[in-house]
């Protein structure tokens, strides 16, 4: 496993492996019983428009700082054992991985809650922006559901 894998929050151009991220978080504790992951992927359709490509940009340092804040708060508030958050930037094709949140708890209830909260919070406070390319051109997305 590369040294990059050791950080629990990352913003990177390259793809990630869900299995590898889960195995990395399993090493935190032998008492993990439930691991909930959210994987966001590139959808073809957005508001009736056919997307051909996505492009993500972030504010370096601030974005990573926000992800670490989310991770620390999720662990504290939901009493989970650990969490990792990875977001890709740059060009992303339809069907490709965009974002991964892994929430590991002793039991499943808190892992579900922490994971769902974390992705909502990521969208709310993390300086990352999406540009969609359609047949009509390129547009920065200003609101997401």
């Amino acid at each position: 496993m590369s040294s990059v894998m050791e950080s629990k929050v990352r913003i990177q151009r390259e793809d990630f492996s869900v299995s590898e991220e889960i195995e990395a978080i399993k090493k935190t504790s032998r008492n993990i019983g439930g691991i909930v992951t959210f994987l966001g992927t590139g959808r073809e359709l957005s508001k009736g428009e056919n997307i051909t490509q996505l492009n993500f940009e972030h504010y370096p340092k601030m974005a990573e700082k926000k992800l670490e804040e989310i991770r620390v708060q999720a662990i504290a508030d939901y009493k989970i054992i650990d969490m990792s958050i990875i977001h890709r930037i740059g060009e992303i094709d339809i069907g490709e991985n965009i974002v991964l949140i892994v929430a590991a708890g002793e039991h499943r209830a808190e892992a579900f809650k922490a994971c769902e909260w974390a992705i909502a919070e990521l969208k709310r406070i993390t300086p990352i922006w999406k540009r969609e390319t359609t047949s009509k051109g390129e547009v920065w997305v200003q609101d997401t559901p």
């Binding site: 966001g40 590139g42 959808r43 406070i125 993390t126 609101d143």
Partner: protein
């Protein structure tokens, strides 16, 4: 100098990725917005109208936040990460 960053759609509106400003020209984010409004009235209005978020040294700021020599001020359009 104060280092100013524009991201995503704001970069297209500003027509640039970054610029620097003499700290004598602006003591707060509000005054910095006035300065920006001279060359880009649309951007100045968006900042004053709180249509964009502002950060100073990677912390969320507001119009009254002071800016000093060496600060990094960023203008952030609504976020759209997370798939």
């Amino acid at each position: 100098m104060i280092h100013i960053l524009y991201f995503a759609s704001l970069r297209d509106i500003a027509g640039k990725t970054e610029e620097t400003l003499d700290p004598n020209d602006a003591a707060t984010v509000r005054e910095l917005a006035d300065f920006i409004g001279k060359t880009s009235p649309q951007l100045g209005e968006m900042i004053h109208g709180k249509k964009v978020m502002v950060s100073v040294n990677q912390d969320v700021a507001n119009l009254d936040t002071p800016v000093r020599d060496g600060d990094e001020v960023a203008f952030l359009p609504p976020f759209s990460g997370g798939a």
